[in-house]
Subunit: 385 residues, 2 copies
Amino acid sequence: MGRLTGGDPSLLRRINSAVVLHSLRGTDSSTLTDLTRITGLSRPTVEGVVEGLIETGLVVEFVPEEGEARKQGRPARRFRFRAEAGHLLGIEIGAHRVAALLSGLDGRIIGAGSRDVSERAGADDRLERVRAVVADLLRRTGVARSGLRAVGVGSPGIVEADGTVRLSTALPGWTGLPLGERLRRSFRCPVLVENDANAAAVAEHWKGAATDSDDIVFVLAGLSPGAGSLIGGRLHRGYGGAAGEIGALHLLGRDETPEKLLSTTGEPLHPLDEQAVADVFALAKSGDEGALAAVERFNKRLVHDVAALVLALDPELVVIGGWAAGLDGVLPPLRDELARYCLRPPRVALSMLGEAAVATGALRLALDHVEEQLFAVEGTVTARR
Amino acid sequence: MGRLTGGDPSLLRRINSAVVLHSLRGTDSSTLTDLTRITGLSRPTVEGVVEGLIETGLVVEFVPEEGEARKQGRPARRFRFRAEAGHLLGIEIGAHRVAALLSGLDGRIIGAGSRDVSERAGADDRLERVRAVVADLLRRTGVARSGLRAVGVGSPGIVEADGTVRLSTALPGWTGLPLGERLRRSFRCPVLVENDANAAAVAEHWKGAATDSDDIVFVLAGLSPGAGSLIGGRLHRGYGGAAGEIGALHLLGRDETPEKLLSTTGEPLHPLDEQAVADVFALAKSGDEGALAAVERFNKRLVHDVAALVLALDPELVVIGGWAAGLDGVLPPLRDELARYCLRPPRVALSMLGEAAVATGALRLALDHVEEQLFAVEGTVTARR
């Protein structure tokens, strides 16, 4: 990539600063000579940029461990990215649980917390639970609330760009909730709200089952299934944020709802009763015939949903997540059916992040936001990745 | 957008040249003063660039009509984009028909031709038919084959980036055919091969029912249905070029094939017998009960396919095309069903380009390729659109 020169000097300073910071973040520490070599910038430019970054608190002189320090006379000064200069939160707000992950600016997780919540809890109660989880997490880790740079949130439903929940059937009182606005009262930093399956797709791509693919579909299996997809490494939200909302697919065919398919009694399960689902999966594993039949019915339905997504999107990889237990049985029939019906069947894998997927993806979205500010300079190409 | 200056002088010349050419293409003709004002470049730069463009044949001095010329003394010299400096072909190779459109560099169509072909014709025969249509079209319009700058081709099946047909069940001998390579023997310019539904999606976006939306799904209804989608104005081909190949969806449910659904005799129609399909639609319009029932069965199936695409992709607009006749009846039930089952139902419209859609899209893809060469400068932002 060519370096662009001339023009707006402050733009140029920002580009150079982003390039140096990016380079520092990729290593434990660097000397000015390292940075000059890696960035192709002149020594005086690098010195000026590093000085500026130290002033903003994003860079600090690296002090090596005792012992190492004095090995070879007087070593060159080293600098490092100050990941602790800011913090990020990734929050999942689910039907049964709220969870939060905390990281520094490098995305490394330094704390986690969660609490159960009733699937019948209203929006106020649920948000109160979120605040409690966050407050406890910050207290335990000793991180100041004012040091948060961005907060990502993953939650079921169609989410508008401003963080308002347009529609969510899974959580009481969620449809129409200005979730972003409500949470922004608790934080002074940007709050980014994302559909839970979308967040999970981002998470599996970041550090889960999909790190080696940029074209994926993540299926959040459940009584109300959803999906998130990345195309060319970028989240595909759809025109109205509703891409992957496949929960209605069964209504179109003659298939029954997952609640009915998984029932062993003839009576449908409660739409949010995931314990009952776990029981059916456990029974099936123990060989119970009724449960086996129920799981088979459910798997067939899931295969159908996934096939529709695959035919529409043609991903390289499908990741199945959502329910922690019982889903491993769905992979063989899914692979078989996709091989039969898809012109080019994708690879299929189970989620590696399990129930941490949504909060992890929410954290990654917060990190993307901060990196955008730190490393990207509008209208120019910088050395990201 | 800021202008970038300095650096590589030949890069800068290319950028300036692209900017001036782009500006000229947007009007009938411009004076040097117009161009200086519009581009923000200096007068000497504009003069140099225009001179260079005249040498390449892309720009010519504009000679106004007699009468207008002498109205106001001696007018400033005017220049125009020379659309006739090169030509483009858009070709459809279908089951029953091959068709071609010819345009200048501005994309305005200056000639068209088509011939019927048997659905049982082998690849050699079909390609021979294509060559005959093109030869005839060039002869009639007096355009030299050597003046072709790019050829776009739309055809059923999954098409690799190099123009090889990976899989096509609709045309005999098509699977595995190195279609791009075969056609390149007839043309000295780039030949771009695209799936037919993808080409049609591009066409409707260019000058059809989807000019006001960048997020669309185009459904090529037929006995072997397919779909093409644009996301953010760009074609979404999928990881392996198979996105939208929804023909297999019915295999997953208990639905029958379109050939059976549309049959009024109990015997399925021949998979490529579109005349029989037209007959059923005509009968249904005349009130025939058996045909009405068949069309209703087929519409239900089409609605299901479209709903699966919509739930996966969440487009702003769905365009239904393919069969010229009979499809208008599908819009009301499609709108109703999408409103019931989609969390955010898209708008639905009929194709405006009808049977010209595939060739028109193929032409647009050829034009995109040429514009990329004329107007885009790698690694920089130019004033496209």
